[in-house]
């Protein structure tokens, strides 16, 4: 824990006032955003048709995974409520979008507000319960929301259908326009979260994660930051749910089961907790794995029995892989895919550093 004695000094230090603009600092500040822009441009203009649809799914998952990572990875709170918060966002957002007084970004704000409010209620229960008890109260939320959604939808099979989002006359219809919208949303969210995590809130949550008692003693307002994490994370997940409703064209009760919560946990933990890159990697993995498995099945197009097996069992195989990955990551490699990749990167750097002196020796000889 790195809690400074004087907040004023630390704030200056955290923002890096007075530090020289070294290449290393520029890289740490701008490298991430630059990489994001390059990947985004590649996806927007390099993909077409089905690839763009897959990208939309992955980007919606990114929003949800970032929300869950906020609560679980940063603030260290256990929650099994992701699907419930997504459902809240989907229904509230889609219903708001149907109103004539609510042009496009407003449904997202409504979803965020509804998710945030319910998040505060769950957060209040987290002041009373910890660990398992908190997990169970979020599980209760799952059952209540599922029930409420089912009752609300009633016999209406189509669900709540939101109109296509439209901003200044530009329609974000399925395909490239929606992907562009999602890239902007995920980019803004990343900037917002990075700003928070590198400043006082991030330090407060890091302290909270390690020990509530110790952070309270060090002057962190435990109640305030816990509630803030619950409200913020739930709001982000609810926005993800609303975007999911936009993507699939309707808000229905079916997708928001406990299995969706499990896949969100897979994104966060398999990708790597405690890092936004990890959450993004997890979202990509969970979003694309079913398609990768489908591709493997397509390799066997000349073998009808194998091909049929893949088309019937592909989705289940993907779930088996998630489950196993979640188990193995938590047992063997706590930092997930991100940790693995970082270790490989460090190995590579060391390899380069190791190779250099050899070459200079060769030159000397």
């Amino acid at each position: 824990m790195n809690l400074p004695a004087s907040p004023a000094v630390s704030r200056r230090a955290a923002r890096g006032r007075g530090r020289p603009w070294t290449p290393r600092r520029l890289w740490s500040l701008l490298g991430g955003p630059a990489l994001f822009v390059v990947v985004a441009l590649f996806v927007i203009y390099g993909q077409s048709g089905y690839g763009l649809y897959q990208a939309s799914i992955v980007l919606v998952y990114c929003v949800v995974a970032l929300g869950q990572e906020w609560l679980t990875g940063r603030a260290g709170q256990i929650s099994l409520g992701a699907a419930a918060f997504m459902a809240i966002g989907a229904f509230v957002g889609a219903r708001t979008a149907q109103q004539s007084w609510a042009p496009f970004p407003l449904p997202l704000l409504a979803a965020a507000l509804a998710g945030g409010l319910v998040g505060i209620v769950i957060g209040l229960s987290s002041l009373r319960f910890r660990g398992l008890y908190l997990a169970l109260s979020t599980l209760a939320l799952q059952f209540f929301v599922q029930f409420a959604a089912l009752e609300y939808q009633g016999g209406n099979q189509g669900g709540v259908v939101p109109p296509i989002p439209k901003l200044f006359g530009y329609e974000f219809s399925e395909g490239r326009p929606f992907v562009i919208l999602m890239v902007v949303i995920v980019g803004l969210l990343l900037l917002l979260l990075r700003g928070m995590y590198s400043r006082a809130p991030g330090r407060a949550w890091a302290a909270l994660r390690q020990s509530e008692v110790a952070s309270a003693v060090s002057g962190v307002d435990v109640m305030r930051w816990k509630l803030a994490a619950f409200a913020g994370s739930s709001a982000v997940i609810a926005v993800g749910g609303c975007l999911f409703a936009y993507l699939t064209g309707s808000a229905t009760y079916q997708p928001y089961t406990i299995y969706l919560t499990v896949s969100v946990l897979v994104m966060v933990f398999v990708g790597g907790t405690g890092s936004m890159v990890g959450a993004l990697l997890g979202a990509v993995l969970v979003g694309l794995l079913p398609y990768w498995i489908q591709d493997i099945g397509n390799e066997f197009a000349d073998n009808p029995s194998v091909y049929a097996w893949f088309s019937v069992h592909g989705a289940t195989l993907a779930i088996a892989v998630y489950g196993l990955a979640l188990l193995l990551v938590l047992v063997f490699e706590r930092e997930g895919l991100y940790g693995l990749l970082r270790r490989l990167w460090l190995l590579l750097l060391r390899g380069i550093a190791f190779a250099r002196p050899q070459r200079s020796e060769g030159d000397a000889a």
Binding site: L132, S137, F147, I258, Y259, L327
Partner: protein, 290 residues
Amino acid sequence: MSEFENVITNTLSIGAIYALIGVGFVVMYRATRVVSFAQGGFMVVGAFLFRAMVELGLGLYLSTVVAAALLFVGGAVVFRITFARILGEEPFVVAIATIGLGTFIVAVSELIWGPNPIVVRGVIGTKPVSVLGLSLTPVSLYAIAMTAIIFAVLIVGLRRTSVGLKMRAVADVPSLAALKGVDVSGISMLAWAIAAGTAAIAGVAYILSTQAHPSGINSLGLLAFPAILLGGFDSIVGALVGALLVAFVQNLAIFYVGSQYQDVIAYAVLLLVLFVRPQGLFGQADLERL
């Protein structure tokens, strides 16, 4: 038959299943402090193995025993190769790992045996038997009998045998138990074996009573949580009492309010217990950790 009689008979048969899921959970929680979300997964595997044994022609009792025994061994093996490595680590992380395990074994069972509802026919009669004035189907009678046997064995075993004593020592203070020469890892492995074995029996009882999809059986593992919490996480007797009470409330709701309320009402009970008496009816009050 009056409606209330229906409530009572259904309470007994559903309660028996909840109790069987719950008792394994409690044994595992006591010995290793692991909160297991994998009980539903073990139930699915148990149910599939049971069906496979019945199809091999082993008969009702032998199939049940073989399915439970295979899961008993399976639970021990799973513990040895994975969870033994994270024994005593952050409970939160271990709980999430059990979610991964449960998801994995359900998906693998579906890959092996298919995602269709599990149906077992013709191994047990359908003619109701009158017991103490209640008309019970042979299936519920079998579930109740298995529950009674398991609970009797576990309660006596934990109170009267040296293994039970060691298990309680490990549950209280693992480090002290290890210092006294108790094989903590071995005891934990036994707890995992018991949890998986009893979950298998719960799975057998469930698919005998109704045909269910693997995912439906898995969800039942989650519905046992209200019962376990009501009874108290670390009490075996509590698991039984909590299971019967929650099943009773659920059946009251089914018969007098509407069957769509049954899951919600169970979790309403859970929230009530969380706020009023989080340690449950029979649990110890010091369970602050996960």
